[in-house]
């Protein structure tokens, strides 16, 4: 049972690390958001993997469903923000947001 848990933990950690590397190395706003989505996938995998190996799959499923709802809400809001930023700056470069001048 424990072996299976470490197996899922290994893949979840790989997904979260890939997402964090993407967040650190990319400059395109949409790419950054795709990296956040990859991290979210790692978290859902970890939640359900833990529930699976501990015979608590029903609770894990409810938590994952709640997490997906939160994720969708986050995506809708963040993409609306990205479109507004694009309208203002005509670019998706995250470095242009660092300029605080009007």
């Amino acid at each position: 049972m424990t072996n299976t848990w470490y197996f899922y933990l290994f893949f979840a950690a790989a997904l979260v690390f890939a997402g964090i590397l993407g967040l650190l190395l990319r400059r395109n706003l949409i790419k950054l958001f795709i990296a956040i989505e990859v991290i979210a996938k790692g978290i859902s995998l970890l939640l359900l993997g833990t529930g699976f190996v501990k015979d608590n799959i029903l609770v894990a499923q409810t938590l994952v469903v709640t997490f997906i709802v939160v994720e969708v809400s986050l995506v809708a809001t963040a993409l609306a923000l990205i479109i507004n930023i694009y309208r203002q700056t005509k670019s998706l470069d995250v470095r242009k947001l660092a300029r605080l001048k009007g």
Binding site: M1, T2, N3, Y6, L9, F10, F11, A14, L15, F17, A18, G19, L21, G22, L25, R26, N28, I30, K31, F33, I34, E37, V38, K41, S44, L45, L48, G49, G51, F52, V53, K54, D55, N56, I57, L58, V59, Q61, T62, L63, V64, V65, T66, I68, V69, E71, V72, S73, L74, A76, T77, L79, A80, L81, I82, I83, Y86, S91, L92, D93
Partner: protein
């Protein structure tokens, strides 16, 4: 277990591709493929509700939202990414995978299995009776998202 491992490796590969690919559209489709694989993994873990949500909402709705945003922001591909990212990402990722495998192998011997108890009832029982407060939170989050999008896309007044 072999199929599950293959699916998990595919999930990680598509997720890495989604970050590495230069073309935004290909990235979004790669992310959708990763979600699809994650949904299949959920089905194989006896979690059909989570699988259905993952495939319909994350692989479907979120991909559509991403593609819509990419279509609305045409100059998105023109952002100059740092050249170092092309070799830094694979290097660090492979190094992390090796460290990850070693740490998990080490933990396997030291940390015993946590206690677990089998649960009874159905998914509906757990969701509506056990996690009722989560549902209230979900409704609040959905409303917050709707109002945020409405606020961001409202028409400007003449005074602005």
């Amino acid at each position: 277990m072999i199929v599950q491992t293959a699916l998990l490796i595919g999930l990680v590969l598509f997720s890495v591709l989604a970050i590495l690919l230069r073309d935004l559209l290909k990235s979004a489709i790669s992310l959708a493929a990763a979600s699809l694989l994650l949904g299949i993994i959920f089905f194989r873990m006896n979690a059909p509700y989570a699988g259905v949500f993952e495939i319909s909402v994350v692989a479907g709705l979120i991909t559509v939202l991403f593609i819509l945003t990419i279509a609305l922001t045409k100059a998105g591909d023109e952002v100059r990414e740092s050249r170092a990212a092309n070799w830094v990402f694979p290097l660090f990722f492979i190094a992390f995978i090796i460290i990850d495998a070693l740490v998990m192998k080490g933990l396997l011997r030291k940390i015993p299995a946590l206690a677990s108890g089998a649960e009874t009832g159905t998914f509906g029982d757990v969701l509506w009776k056990g996690r009722t407060f989560d549902l209230v939170g979900q409704i609040a989050v959905i409303l917050a998202g709707v109002f945020a999008v409405l606020a961001l896309f409202r028409k400007r007044d003449k005074h602005d």
